[in-house]
Symmetry: none
Subunit: 525 residues, 2 copies
């Protein structure tokens, strides 16, 4: 179990799940909990048993199916209702029965919320806190308290807000987490209020939302003011603008403030874990996320490339390996020889000066036509291979293709594609139907090649982006298509550019399949 002096408390499965469009099954929650435990967080808030059947089920299954190494489970719930005993409140009973070693009770600490939302008196709210905390403590659970709307409450009635803290602490709550529930705070004012709370001598925690873009900074400011318990969510999930991103908070505290929060080797898994969780939540990963984003250590270099070769640490705030990420050099129209060489090395090729020059010329020429390689590593690697090998060699050669999209008189929409190609000495003709022209082309190519290359069954087209470049009077617009493909082990992106969107799509598709076959170890014909 983790050191108790400083708590890393994850609330992805409860507050993070409030995010618009995020829906987790019980099985999803168990998987996310395992990932968070793998990172080494101290507490995982699993949900609100009793209020939500899915969460009751989660705690039931967790007992047998979750074998946590670092973390303890926390059950979230409210203080007892007004006018009943804590022992008689069925929602409090559900917390007791959850089997979670920790219960986190949410309580109102803003006088107007007590009156308008809870519709009870300020005194009764304090009694509800006192009774519920002491009841659960007596039953053997550890109790934390989430002081809801604490900062707005402090502004409205500071004496009452502090009284909530004192009441909970005296009744036996170990931590009082101050919640910036509406997320409107800025770090300086927040730190002053935390300082007041710490002055009550209760142990103080912090729970921030990102409505001012300051959730991480607010969390750090609270820690500096004396908080020893930080709440947050994986990838910053949460309602509205999200909760404090727990990964960013942990990396900042551990790598820049010397806190020893998670094992060093777990921190080096953070990027992988962040991405694995996006697979479960089905939320597109934020490529710009600090520390763990795909772009977090990517450089459009040009200007800097030669200096980066001398000392990469001049251009990065930490060694990305500490969080399991990598520096990436993007090949772009601002880049020159140095970045192409670096990129070649990253891909495992040692380029001769002649090859580098040829490749730089080729990239520049293609970029002037509208190609972009910074987001299309696979296309760049194919170009590099062609340059090194001195000719264009592929697994198949295309003779012709045709796409028909039709809206019939009856209103039916039909997309159909035919490809004619040569591979392994055979001429193959295949026709595919799809929900659109590119899907139909994709199906036709697979159909044509799957007999010869059965591994294509694993290749999947997972993203398709289109950009129209310059469309002013006189000049024709050019269409750029980026296709992302996957084979269950990795993803790669390819690019096509043409006046004609179908032609551009075809180029990207052809390269996607070629690269997939190279990955599968297929020799070129």
């Amino acid at each position: 179990m983790a050191d108790d002096r400083f708590h890393v408390y994850d609330t992805t499965l409860r507050d993070g799940a409030q995010q618009e469009g995020l829906n987790l099954t019980v099985a999803d929650k168990l998987v996310v909990a395992r990932h968070l435990d793998g990172l080494g967080v101290g507490f995982i808030e699993g949900g609100w048993p009793g209020a939500n059947p899915k969460d009751t089920e989660f705690f039931r299954r967790a007992r047998t199916e979750l074998d946590l190494k670092h973390a303890q489970l926390a059950a979230f719930g409210a203080t007892r209702r007004a006018g009943v005993k804590a022992a008689d409140d069925p929602l409090v009973a559900a917390l007791r029965e959850s089997g979670a070693p920790v219960v986190t009770l949410v309580a109102k600490s803003h006088d107007r919320h007590v009156e308008l939302a809870l519709r009870t008196t300020l005194e009764e709210n304090l009694a509800m806190i006192r009774d519920t905390v002491s009841h659960l403590r007596a039953e053997g659970q550890r109790v934390f308290l989430d002081a809801e709307h604490f900062f707005d409450g402090f502004r409205s009635n500071p004496a009452y807000a502090l009284e909530v803290i004192r009441t909970a602490a005296e009744a036996g709550a170990d931590v009082i987490a101050l919640c910036d529930t509406n997320g409107g705070m800025l770090p300086d004012e927040l730190a002053e209020v935390v300082h007041e709370a710490v002055g009550t001598s209760a142990r103080v925690g912090i729970h921030c939302h990102d409505d001012t873009g300051c959730a991480v900074a607010n969390t750090l400011a609270a820690v500096k003011a004396g908080a020893t318990h930080v709440q947050g969510c994986a990838n910053g999930y949460g309602e509205r603008s999200g909760n404090a991103n727990l990964f960013t908070v942990v990396a900042n505290l551990q790598l820049k403030r010397g806190y020893d929060l998670v094992p060093r080797e777990s921190l080096a898994e953070m990027t992988r874990i962040a991405h694995a969780i996006t697979e479960v939540t089905n939320v597109t990963p934020n490529s710009h996320a600090p520390y763990v984003g795909m772009s977090a250590f990517a450089h459009k270099a040009g200007l800097h490339a030669s200096a980066i070769k001398v000392d990469p640490n001049l251009y990065q705030h930490i060694d990305p390996a500490q969080v399991g990420n990598d520096m990436r050099m993007l090949v772009s129209d601002m880049a020159g020889r140095a970045s192409v060489e670096l990129k070649g090395r990253e891909l495992g090729y040692e380029l001769t000066p002649d090859h580098t020059k040829a490749l730089v010329d080729r990239v520049k020429d293609m970029e002037s036509q509208g190609y972009t390689f910074e987001a299309a590593d696979a296309s760049f690697e194919l170009l590099l291979r062609d340059t090194v090998q001195g000719e264009r060699r592929r697994h198949f050669e295309v003779e012709s293709w045709r796409v028909i999209v039709e809206r019939t008189k009856g209103g039916e929409l039909v997309s159909e594609a035919t490809v004619k190609l040569h591979a392994k000495g055979e001429r193959i003709v295949a026709t595919g139907e799809g929900n659109g022209p590119v899907n139909a082309l994709d199906k036709a190519v697979r159909l044509a090649l799957e007999q010869l290359y059965p591994e294509l069954a694993k290749l999947e087209l997972i993203d398709y982006k289109v950009r129209i470049l310059e469309g002013t009077h006189g000049t024709h617009a050019v269409t750029r298509v980026l296709i992302t493909s996957s084979d269950e082990r990795a993803e790669w992106a390819t690019v096509g550019v043409a006046e004609n969107i179908i032609d551009a799509s075809w180029q990207a598709l052809e390269q996607a399949v070629t690269y997939g076959l190279l990955r599968a170890g297929r020799e070129l014909s």
Copy 2:
């Protein structure tokens, strides 16, 4: 022109454009500049003339095509090279000749960068700063200095970092913007360094990156420490984890710290402007963005719904109307009515309550399918007319259409479209050829209708944008197409959404032609 005492300095077109996957044409840059000016920023950094032909072209076209109301343009560039006179350096000449009233010079302020990246001496670097600043000042331009890697430099050699500030200020630079180039700072340490810099009595600015998730908080901390010039990018665009989100910075300072930075009515356009810029950059809008994100004021109601009705301000940190956003209840229908009524009035329609309700329902339903009307006024107006008139009436009715795109054995690319439609009692069949499927469809429709509606000759399709919208669990991705058309007097935009890109394009095209005919005063059949 804006008040000079506090600068809101946008660098979207220069530093923001370093973002992976973001590529702006000159036309795109002009559009973004107009949006930023509409928001009321003080300065717009347009790019690096001389170093990049696209940026040279931007400044050339800006002279005649940009009519800025609030902002001044700034040209970005480097100090002269080592060992030459500023007056003889062609890159400095390009800054002079850009016509920009302000030049922002980037200069090294980190001793190791001077030695390893610039490969010159610390003294020569100071001379380069002194000469370049005083040369440009003498030529009549206002000069700001970006002190690159300032914070890392201060850690390495504080005396030298401060000497860079003093040298630039003495040579005539109006502002020294301290750049956290690698983005690794946290607010407390950053504020201490800013305080030292302010102590030199130079005017200090701040330029932050989001590698620790603290770019906005760092910017605010610098302002508190005495900085009076803030740099940032629209939507937080930028390399790696992005730059400070200028929209968040402005909203925080203006709504929470009492700064008067942009006109109140422009601030109320911020959400619209943020989204309009994403249409140009073709970067998926971040629905969680503070203040302007789609989800920024969205509540998964449940627990709070009734209390929100009593007093919505108990559950939001600001009134979202201040930034042009809306509270959205994700399960109930509170959003939309007011803005639909307003929009209707703007278009010259007085809507009855029944019509408003029907239109709100329709818009919501269509937005849930992926339509967007923010950037498609013409589609919204057609929808409004359909609602008011109680039926769908058009100048023509389509029976069917078909598009064929083919790459022949000889390598020739052919795009051909056939439309069959009814207009003024006639059935017309026409076939068009084009450089792509949409161009072919466009030609076919014109050919079919031009006998009956000769004014279509003036109608031109001037822009075409495509975005793939991700599907949620189980659903397919859909394609959204935005078409901008013009008739020499005005431009209008229409939207189509479908799984099939050709179908989506067809929808937008059909509306574009219909709207063009309405504008030309053609009665509906």
